[in-house]
Amino acid sequence: MTVPHLEARGISKHFGSLKALDDVSLEVAPGTFHALLGENGAGKSTIVKCLMGFYHADAGEIYIDGALTPIASPQEARHLGLGMVFQHFTLIPAMTVAENLVLARPGLPLVIDWKAETKQLEAFLDRAPFRVDLRARVDTLSAGQKQKIEILKELYLRTRLLILDEPTSVLTRDEADEVLGYIRGLVNEGKLSVLLITHKFREVMAYCDQVTLLRRGRFAGAGKTADLDPSRMAEMMMGEARVQNESMRPKAAPGPSVLRIEDLHARGDNGLEALHGVNLTVRAGEIVGIAGVSGNGQRELVEVIAGQRGADSGRIGVKGEDHRPTRAMLRKHQFYTLPEEPLKNAAVARMSVAENMAFGVFDEPPFQRWGFLLDRAAITQLGRDLIARFSVRPPLPDAPIGELSGGNVQRAILARELSNGQVRVLVAANPCFGLDFKAVDSIHELLVETRNQGAAVLLVSEDLDELLMLADRIVVMTGGAIVLETTPEDADPAAIGRHMAGHH
């Protein structure tokens, strides 16, 4: 099968009242490495899902090699030589690599001839640049290995136009270069076209020939990478030039150590140790950023701190005193936590916005009266106040919080955590994930303000750029332990990258 010429013209798609794509056009010539650039919510995932037959576009056409070709299902897309590697893995954890690869094969007969299939797989793997153990169960592999297998799977299925949706988000820089470099080689040999969804300019400049930009569901520009530079691309993506906010720098030097995590050990969901003795100190008036590829224990660390996971050994101390996630201690230590995916981890979807905002204070006056009665009017009033102060939309204190958009849920939870007067310790995990730029900026400002008022802030983020901008100190977490500490000024991306890759 030859590499197809793909053209999408005038694609529009809406979900309810949300217009995800508005008259977007895109062209991928055969044998090119094409980047699709845009911020969160720009519509990148939506358009490729239309190309892959997962969604049906409301308007617009798709042309393959010049012929009008409606793509109604993923099977049809695959038939045309299109393949996609998603952000979340499409490997089945409980099955082996071999079973996964075989299952992805179209035309699989009802009874599987394992001898023949295995021979075919081994023959294919001989020519591949990555080593994989066919008999390994997928849930024993690292994120990087899984990503490589995903790409191998597409090549095994003889995909000719490969769509990659943020493939390097779970890879270290070295691994990303390895993968993208290999693919670049295949493109150079004319065996493949690639459509790469990314928000990393570095990758676009290093590997891609062409780039198309999307902003808020609309076409925002296109061109050859040779003709564009990162700041021009940023402008096209964002719509206006972004000004680096210098007021991020703290006004005073950090104070004494407030939060101390000592030799923390804990196990993950699979029973294996996820935290191998984490040691960390955060001082008053500083933001410590934890950088690292997701899956190295960051989530488990925040869960232990938040009381959602038990620790096997180790100690968390606040101002020298042992800290346990009980209500009394949280109040005493003025300890606030903002976990990631707030609807899943910090809120009760079916309770109202006001009620959710009262989780921290409902058992204190004025919300508790006579020692056991709940004052519901007071809670509703609290909701109104916080909704106004933190601009939560829609401003309905009695609406179930599950009906709010992601950004507004995050705002509501932030309102809850940051509105109680003095904050001594704040732990936040990926607070800006999936939010639009305005929301991101306002949350960054809140974090900085909290730090400036003397709080010890621990910020876990998968976005190194965010940490470089906000943090006073950056530590890298790999394999469940802190392996490097540095400051934004001294940060050496190569060294950080190596430490993120760990000792694998």
Binding site: G16, A306, G307, Q308, P325, T326, R327, A328, M329, L330, T337, P339, L343, K344, N345, A346, A347, V348, A349, R350, M351, E355, N356, F359, G360, F362, D363, F367, Q368, F372, L373, L374, R376, P394, A399, P400, I401, G402, E403, L404, S405
Partner: protein
């Protein structure tokens, strides 16, 4: 809107279920309208029928709370039957051990014994799920069978009254220890326990900070942990309270209805209680209404047999149909509300709002 929905949706499910039941009857060659008429007559047609209905409603009120209270704390309990039995056993033991106490004290002692036994029984199931991951549905049903075995063992063994010939039974309670009825009716005072328990349960869940904390734990354990709430303790207390209600139902069975512990302690009220709880969407105030309606349905079993030659399992079929409909109604809940965002999560969230 939410309050209206809380009553309309269960009623709608019951109506729809009755309609399908009518079709079922028609398919069997019985005129459904005559069946409806019989149900109405037997349940609500006369003062006598009303009394039957009230008598049937009182164990339902208490049995339903055994599911509803832990459900608000996040755990579905279906071991009501076992808790009723153990509660009854506790009550009879306490009653037989204190023959010389004056009536009021005797009743208090028996009630406490019943609450303790029933409460611990359900608390065990709930604790097993929370601390050990053992599904409360499975442990509940297993413990039901164990409770029946225990009951049989005791009333054929240590508690056995040698003068009871037909079926094994325990010694009878002293007449002063019996629970009386309202004057001029055969509705026993157990109804008071039921209604009071529902009111107290509603107050606890909706108006106290303890209830609020319980709802958080029941809504999202992680959010509760984040807020520093002692989820395990909340859940176990909910189990104790629910089990205590079921225990009281057992006590009422023993003290008001039979005067002794025998086989009929295992009467299936527990399972109907589960249905009532689900029909009421775990809301104690709605339980009062639904218990009444369900009591009426249950009271009509005999009439259906006499008038239409339908076996008493017919009511069981009706209960099954109602159960299926209340489940399906979850998908309709929230459609009457006018909200701006209609994401699937929001729909589901709204559907589960209580």
């Amino acid at each position: 809107m939410k309050k209206a929905e809380a009553v309309l949706v269960p009623l709608g499910a019951m109506v729809a279920g009755l309609l399908v039941f009518g079709l079922f009857c028609a398919a069997l060659g019985v005129n459904p309208f005559l069946v409806y008429a019989s149900i109405y007559k037997a349940g609500f047609g006369s003062w006598y029928s009303w009394q039957n209905t009230l008598v049937r409603a009182s164990p339902l009120l208490l049995g339903a709370l055994c599911t509803a209270i832990p459900a608000r704390a996040g755990i579905i309990v279906i071991g009501n039957e076992g808790a009723i039995i153990v509660g009854g056993l506790g009550a009879i033991w306490a009653g037989l051990a204190t023959p010389s106490l004056p009536p009021f004290l005797a009743l208090t002692v028996m009630t406490f014994a019943a609450m303790l036994c029933g409460g611990l029984w359900i608390a065990a199931e709930v604790a097993l799920q929370h601390y050990r991951g053992v599904s409360a549905v499975i442990s509940g049903l297993l413990l039901n069978y164990l409770a029946i075995a225990l009951m049989n063992q005791l009333i054929e063994g240590p508690l056995r009254d040698p003068s009871s010939f037909n079926s094994p039974a325990s010694y009878p309670l002293a007449p002063s220890h019996r629970l009386g009825s309202f004057a001029g009716t055969h509705v026993h005072h157990g109804l008071i326990f039921g209604v009071a328990a529902c009111l107290l349960a509603w107050f606890l869940i909706d108006r106290t900070t303890f209830g609020f904390a319980m709802k958080i734990g029941g809504g999202n354990v992680r959010a509760a942990q984040l807020a520093g709430l002692p989820v395990g303790r909340l859940v176990v207390i909910a189990g104790l309270l629910g089990g205590a209600c079921a225990g009281i139902a057992g006590m009422v069975e023993v003290a008001a209805v039979h005067g002794r512990a025998n086989e009929s302690l295992n009467a299936g009220y527990g399972y109907s209680g589960i249905l009532v709880a689900f029909l009421s969407r775990q809301n104690p105030l709605v339980i009062v209404l639904v218990s009444l309606l369900t009591g009426g349905l249950l009271a009509s079993g005999g009439m259906l047999q006499r008038a239409h030659d339908l076996p008493d399992a017919t009511i069981a079929v009706l209960q099954g149909i109602l159960f299926l409909f209340i489940l399906l109604s979850d998908t309709f809940y929230g459609r009457f509300n006018f909200t701006r965002t209609k994401t699937p999560e929001a729909r589901a969230a709204h559907a589960n709002a209580a």
